[in-house]
Amino acid sequence: MDTPATYFHWGFILISVPNLIVIGGMIVLFAIALVAPFPHAEEGDDGSK
């Protein structure tokens, strides 16, 4: 834990690998939230399908 993090360096982009993993995970989670089916999504009453 006391060793410095490994850094990803590509052109002007410089970011630590742990931060890159967190941001990548957030983007993946956001994409899943958009496409994953939501349980009981068709049962709304206000303008329901």
Binding site: M26, F30, A33, A41, G47, K49
Partner: protein, 214 residues
């Protein structure tokens, strides 16, 4: 003393501020809006869950923070339970920020400020800013070498911004007071206002549902 009871008076006539306030709450915040049991069909998406998870994470942050402030630094560094609660506080904050940003992305891409919701959006922005300040003061009050390292480096940024005299990151007492008292009260107040405003107007329609029946 008026012949009519305050109950029968119109809001403009009434001199009772409690009556006027109660009527305003009844008019703008009916319980059906505050605690709805059904939602529009477009709320059936995981994107709408990010805000709720953010609130859940904040609840854990506050609960673990209260325990930490009650027990003190010796406990949170030296005992096994203290380290666990300290970690619970830290990781709840990580989840709070992760899901707050996911909530922000969702609201940004669906333009959540539409139809009179600009103030709700702007309060959300202020919550984000105050949360960063709260997390920063939290890093400064860990009572370890990491906190000292951050404080020594941050003081130059504060001085260059001209606020070093008012916001002294080397002053543990000031940072701790801000972290456990003023900033959490501010965040809690703003989050409650944010949620009440969301409930008062309901969830914004997705852009592709604009033309659909309401």
């Amino acid at each position: 003393m008026a012949a009519n009871s305050p109950e029968g008076a119109t809001p403009r006539e009434s001199r009772s501020w409690t009556l006027r306030l109660r009527r305003a709450i009844d008019q703008h915040l009916p319980m059906g809006h505050l605690l709805p049991d059904r939602q529009p069909y477009y709320v059936g998406s995981w994107v709408y869950v990010f805000g709720v998870i953010t609130i859940a994470a904040l609840a854990w942050v506050i609960v673990s923070g209260v325990v930490l402030s009650f027990m003190g630094p010796q406990w949170w560094h030296d005992s096994r339970l203290g380290r666990f609660v300290n970690s619970l506080h830290f990781w709840s904050v990580q989840l709070f920020f992760i899901f707050m940003v996911l909530h922000l992305w969702g609201q940004y891409f669906m333009a959540g400020w539409r139809h009179g919701r600009a103030a709700t959006w702007m309060i959300g922005v202020v919550i984000f800013a105050v949360s960063i300040l709260t997390a920063f003061t939290g890093y400064l009050t860990q009572q370890n070498f990491d906190a000292q390292f951050i404080a020594i480096n941050a003081k130059d940024a504060m001085n260059s911004a001209g606020i070093g005299a008012f916001f002294n990151v080397l002053n543990f007492g000031q940072m701790y007071g801000l972290h456990v008292m003023l900033l959490p009260i501010g965040i809690t107040f703003l989050v409650v206002a944010h949620i009440v405003m969301v409930r008062a107007r309901g969830v914004v329609k997705p852009i592709d549902a604009e033309g659909a029946r309401s």
